[in-house]
């Protein structure tokens, strides 16, 4: 009897037809954190397996598509939206899905304890009218451009078991897979939901997620055929399998965030935007992608991934690597002999060292200050970061307004850089309060937002990270939503 053969039951055969059955083994670097169920976080293998959302964006067009909501109407003033819900949808415990669940979901997101990044957007929902069990109307305080970001984000959970959900005991949703068990630090297992509202889906009988907290070990597990899909790896980790035809490395545009350097604008001379711009010119973004991210990722001075409506080549390339320019700007600002701390998360040592080196080339000396995650986060939230820090942020993959109201580094009201500028506030609010996300006015507002960010540079974006799935080549049909949640509705092992 061998432990090696045991798990290699992947059905063989190379036909293009989806195959039913089998259990998908997934390896994840991070563990499930139930307390973060209602936030976007590093563990992406539960939101769209167990749960559904009202709508979901088409990854190509970024237009919302029906999911639990069959159809919807947005008022012309953008201040209300009415959903018609899909009938016959049942939670895994057999209870039918109704409008009350939508009401609960929205109120739940407003609760600060849930730490939902889109809380600000959820809070805009002032009033909820249940028209009938399958129809619900939301009234908003003001129009928001990222309304459907909220519905993409908001998972619909069984309202009676939510307290058990945030402790990881019971996860009850309407999704393709039924949560069976979670052993913290070890594994999660899911079984097929036979009553899933999409017929013939999912293909898999079950999904097992193994927690493999070490990058090399995760790659080994993949190569040892222990898992067919590895999530959470970065570009450098996949080097051993990149060229191996047995594996596919899938890169998603939606990105899993962006690497940036933050500047505390209350620390001299970083109150001068020319100094911040100099930093932006000083850093060789291309080299970071090549050397520290294994070539995966998009060097960009703007936060937007290619999929974002705000993305443009021009903004991405606004700050090319130009040390001379940087030096000139510094000289202009009258800055010399700069020696400042550069804080960073102790897990991203390589990038921090590269930033340090590049800055040194233009005469900005930095002392690296590694912080462990808890401390980093505490300083980030507590606005106690030193002059410079390197980190990563999310939420640029959606409507640009979401970034400015939901991503802490950019938050116009309160951010780590302690940057505040009425002009910025105005532009953010304008971009956010667009009734139609796709209108030319909205697009112009996004452009303004990009411009103000690129000009002020209190957040100096460096690289939009690639969102990588590394899989056995037999695995087909894996998808993800804009929040990088794993979608396995159509996945199968060929």
């Amino acid at each position: 009897k061998s432990a090696v053969d045991e798990k290699k039951s992947s059905p063989a055969g190379a036909s293009g037809q989806p195959k039913k059955g089998g259990t998908l083994q997934i390896g994840s670097l991070t563990d499930f954190t139930p307390a973060l169920l209602f936030t976007q976080n590093a563990f992406t293998a539960v939101h769209r397996l167990v749960f559904n959302t009202l709508t979901s964006y088409d990854p190509k067009t970024l237009q919302p598509q029906p999911q639990l909501a069959k159809s919807w109407q947005v008022a012309a003033d953008g201040k209300s939206v009415t959903f018609q819900l899909r009938e016959g949808v049942k939670f895994h415990n057999g209870r039918p899905f109704t409008a009350d669940d939508v009401v609960f979901a929205i109120n739940n997101l407003k609760d600060p304890k849930r730490s939902a990044q889109l809380r600000a957007t959820a809070a805009v929902v002032q009033e909820i009218q249940v028209v009938n069990p399958l129809e619900v109307t939301l009234k908003l305080a003001h129009p928001v451009s990222n309304l459907f970001d909220l519905f993409e984000f908001m998972i619909i959970t069984d309202k009676d078991s939510v307290e058990e959900a945030v402790t990881g005991k019971k996860l009850i949703g309407t999704g393709p897979f039924v949560f069976k068990s979670w052993t913290p630090g070890a594994s999660l297992s899911f079984a097929k939901n036979p009553e899933y509202f999409i017929p013939e889906r999912p293909y898999f009988d079950g999904v097992e997620v193994r927690i493999i907290p070490n990058n090399d070990s995760l790659v080994s597990a993949l190569r040892g055929k222990q898992v067919q899909l590895a999530i959470g790896l970065n570009g450098r980790d996949v080097a051993p399998v990149k060229t191996d035809p047995q594996f596919t490395v899938q890169q998603y545009d939606t990105g899993s965030g962006a690497v940036y350097v933050g500047a505390n604008v209350t620390v001299k001379p970083f109150d001068d935007k020319r100094v911040r711009q100099a930093i932006s010119y000083a850093i060789n973004r291309e080299r970071i992608v090549q050397q520290s991210l294994g070539g995966f990722g998009l060097p960009s001075s703007a936060p937007w991934p290619k999929s974002s409506p705000a993305y443009s080549d021009a903004t991405a390339k606004r700050y090319p690597h130009d040390p001379e320019r940087a030096k000139a700007l510094l000289a202009e600002a009258g800055v010399s002999n700069l020696d400042v701390p550069l804080a960073y998360l102790n897990t991203s040592t390589v990038i921090a060292q590269m930033i340090q080196f590049d800055l040194q080339q233009v005469g900005i000396k930095t002392t690296l200050e590694p912080l462990d995650p808890a401390k980093f986060q505490a300083q980030l939230i507590g606005q106690t970061m030193p002059a410079l820090w390197a980190g990563s942020h999310g939420f640029a993959q959606l409507h640009p307004a979401t970034l400015a109201v939901s991503a802490y580094p950019f938050n116009e009201a309160k951010n780590t850089s302690k940057f505040s500028d009425p002009a910025y506030t105005e532009i953010v609010q304008k971009a956010w309060r667009q009734p139609d996300a796709d209108s030319p006015a909205a697009k112009a507002a996004y452009q303004d937002l990009s411009e103000v960010l690129l000009d002020r540079q209190f957040v100096i974006d460096l690289v939009v990270l690639a969102n990588l799935y590394v899989a056995d080549k037999s695995l087909q049909g894996v998808g993800q939503n804009t929040y990088a949640s794993l979608v396995l509705d159509d996945a199968y092992l060929a």
Binding site: R236, R287, Q291, M354, F357, E369
Partner: protein, 262 residues
């Protein structure tokens, strides 16, 4: 000194020399990042290649010896000093003895890496924390050993003779007991040094090592992990140096041990 002891001295001496003379032995700045990284042995003036972000590996290796030796040479004597002081307190007062022993138990019972994480979280990253952790780990091992040795030697006939000769407690301890009780300590110092080097590596692995961009043996070794398969030479360098250092220290300890026994 036995031939093995001489080999040990030579090994440690050569490494020490190489570390100290690092600026003379290499023209590369250990922190200079060239845009074209050549992991593994390569040309372009990099005898032993560069790391993933284009820093010359040979010069980093040489400088890392410095770092490690500095850590070790500060931490181990400090651990010995504090452990020894506690042992002295323990052997002079019965009540203090109980307290000190419980303290040793406590320190021994904390797993070293968890201790490392905690210390680093409190004191911040870098050599200071590594030194602190090594000191905390070495305190009980030195302390226990010395306490035991002092108790044994204090009852030896020569110590009784010294007491009858009129030696007070202080003189008894410093002049008679300690010089003899210190024998096993010499060996423990070498052992502690190897433990320290190994621990530095383990701490680097879990991301709480020497503060970058400084090079350290453990840091290099753990950075080499992703390249073990394609460029095993990357790992081999620090591994060989660590091995030589530890083997050398052990050989010296062995020789000293033998010397002490005679």
């Amino acid at each position: 000194m036995t031939p093995r002891g001489i080999i040990g001295l030579a090994l440690v001496g050569v490494l020490l020399g190489a570390g100290l003379a690092a600026p003379l032995l290499t023209s590369h700045d250990p922190n200079f990042q060239s845009a074209d990284a050549l992991v593994g042995p390569g040309s372009a003036g990099h005898l032993y290649g560069t790391d993933e972000i284009g820093r010359d590996l040979l010069s980093r290796l040489l400088y890392s010896i410095r770092t490690d030796l500095m850590v070790v040479l500060i931490a181990v004597p400090l651990g010995l000093l504090i452990g020894g002081a506690l042992a002295l307190v323990a052997v002079t007062h019965r009540v203090a003895d109980v307290a000190v022993q419980r303290l040793f138990d406590l320190l021994l019972s904390f797993p070293s890496l968890i201790l490392g994480l905690t210390v680093t979280a409190i004191a911040g990253f870098g050599a200071g924390s590594i030194v602190t952790v090594i000191v905390l780990i070495e305190i009980p091992s030195f302390g226990r050993m010395l306490r035991g040795a002092i108790l044994v030697h204090r009852d030896r006939e020569y110590a009784v003779a010294a007491r009858i000769g009129g030696a007070g407690p202080l003189r008894l301890l410093t002049r008679h007991v300690l010089p003899n009780a210190a024998d096993p300590v010499v060996v423990q110092v070498a052992v502690a040094m190897s433990v320290a080097v190994i621990l530095e590596g383990a701490m680097s692995f879990i991301g709480i090592g020497i503060r970058p961009p400084d090079a350290s043996l453990g840091g290099m070794l753990s950075a080499s992990r992703p390249y073990l398969e394609d460029h095993p030479f990357y790992a081999l360098g620090p591994l060989v140096v660590i091995t030589a250092l530890v083997v050398g220290l052990n050989l010296i300890a062995e020789a000293l041990n033998r010397g002490a026994r005679r």
